[in-house]
């Protein structure tokens, strides 16, 4: 069943985004009397692209920084910072993403900027945590063997440690990306152009059709993104023979 479901959902999502007018029959019963059925203030396609771009940039940046920091604290010279970094991640993860977003506004103002920063900051934690877990579970025997065949530190990191830690790191990236997708939706309350705009517009004008439309599109994006990342993780794990 899975094999049919995935492409079907993808096609549905694409259709919802590119030809929203085609679905007016579906949403019409939810719209108020005589009110608009399909959100048309901004094209859904551009909102979707903007939303995805925000998530992509924030997650990529968070991945680079978080994996970099994880590499640093798992090296001998960075070991002193490890307990501190654990404390920071533990405390940081109790911060609600919405609160991070709301607190970014006083500091940075409205718009895409604070949203991006909030997504980035919050995205760091799961990736950092998982990268440390992944890097420190590489078995010492493997590392010894790598040293034995004469690999330098850098070579060991790039050819042995990172590839072996990759599935766990990807898991963290997935968590981050899904949280970012959800937080970006709320970003429209701080004037970022994301799909949340459709839902918020619906809530403000009491137009359930908009709410449903936005909710459906964002929900489908999230489910498909999640599925894609899981697939990727499984492929990579299989290739590594784990």
């Amino acid at each position: 069943m899975r094999t049919y479901l995935r492409p079907a959902l993808a096609v549905l999502l694409l259709a919802l985004v590119v030809w929203p007018e085609r679905f007016s029959w579906l949403f019409a019963p939810f719209a108020p009397q005589g009110g608009p059925v399909i959100y048309s203030r901004t094209s859904l396609l551009s909102l979707s692209l903007n939303h995805l771009a925000l998530v992509l940039i924030a997650t990529l940046a968070a991945t680079l920084v978080a994996v970099g920091m994880a590499i640093l604290v798992t090296r001998p010279f960075g070991a002193a910072f490890r307990p501190l970094s654990r404390t920071v991640t533990n405390i940081g993860q109790t911060f609600p993403p919405v609160a991070v977003l709301a607190l970014a506004v006083p500091a940075l103002g409205f718009g895409e900027g604070p949203t991006l920063v909030a997504l980035f900051l919050y995205g760091l934690l799961p990736i950092f945590e998982n990268a440390i877990a992944g890097l420190s579970t590489v078995s010492p025997t493997v590392l010894d063997a790598a040293r034995g065949i004469g690999l330098t530190r850098l070579q060991r990191l790039i050819r042995i440690e990172l590839p072996l830690a990759l599935p766990v790191i990807l898991n963290g990236i997935r968590l981050s990306a899904i949280i970012a997708l959800g937080t970006a939706t709320i970003g429209s309350t701080v004037a970022a152009k994301t799909l949340g705009e459709v839902i918020i517009a619906g809530l403000l004008t009491n137009n359930t059709a908009f709410v449903l439309q936005g909710g459906l599109i964002v929900g489908l994006f999230a489910v498909l993104l999640y599925d894609l990342m899981v697939q990727l993780e499984q492929r990579i794990s299989a290739r590594l023979g784990l």
Binding site: P106, G182, G202, L203, G215
Partner: protein, 376 residues
Amino acid sequence: MLFLILGAASCAAPFLSLAANRIVVGEGVALWRAAPVQHSAPALFLLGLGLLLGLLQSRPVLRVAGAVLSLAGLFWLLSMGAAALLADAGRYARVSPAAGFWCLLVICALLLADALSQLQPGPRTRAAALALTLLCVAGLLKAGLLSDLSIAQEFAPRKAAVLDAFIRHLWLAFGSLGLAALIGLPLGVLCHRHSRLREALLPLLSFLQTIPSLAMFGIMIPLLGWIGTQFPAAQAIGIAGIGFAPAFLALVLYSLLPVVANTVAGLESIPPAVRDAARGIGMTTWQRLFRIEIPLGLPVILTGLRIVLVQNTGLAVIAGLIGGGGFGTFVFQGLNQTATDLILLGALPTVALAMVAAIVMDILIEITQPQRGSET
């Protein structure tokens, strides 16, 4: 070392900000000019001394003392500075903490957390420390030492509303946890027994968890609205498209995955030998469940509840968007009016609530952890 450098760096940033009214952007006031010299000198001394004590890597007790000292200096300066600045400013003037204060606060708090974790306190000490911290914060607020700050001025006319939001927020976060536990724990036990059910249910729940919160809340609205209009009885108990019900239901749905998955994991973590022994001494299925499996799996199950509690406290903010109440109301009102202090009035209690919940749950988890060796 890191803390001292960062602390010195944040001294350069404006400590307080003074604005003519609640909307305009304030003007930064530097750390040493915030309060009259007779107040700021001892406060700065405390702050510096505290951070210096923080340098002593090998003496965690002194580091804790240092962190507490610097926090005391920080708040003293904040209180005195706000009063002094307001004294010769206009009627609608507002004083709020600026970047410098927040950075110093974070640094001192991190120093405290780092030093405390170095001490590795037991659950009782941690509970006492938490209670003491809460008492200090309550005392600080009660004594009116911070009442000159703009966030307190934002709070004063909304006292009843804030209390209301607090109770509503607790209901949303804890009530949904309760209901999710009532549904999720039996489901978890069933999933543990029947692998077919587990294979069907867990992916479904994790897909639910994936759906962004705003979308989930949005989808709940027409669904519950429909139920409300179709069944008058449902409407009578408050089920409607907008308000508390959709927010509550969405939170319950989000909570199910951590509860069910951790119940399964907790039950699975029990060594088969223990299970066999219980069967061997003639325990029935129910006896085994309640006397062996649940007590032994409890730490893992509680970890699931911790995840839910922290997550729901944060997500309940979004309920503010669909009229569900809670602190989110202030956050989104503040965002609409670009009133920073109102945003903080909603966001700070939420963060504090999530942290307290996390710490309390951590203590509970540690208490239920079976002491290895002594029990067998």
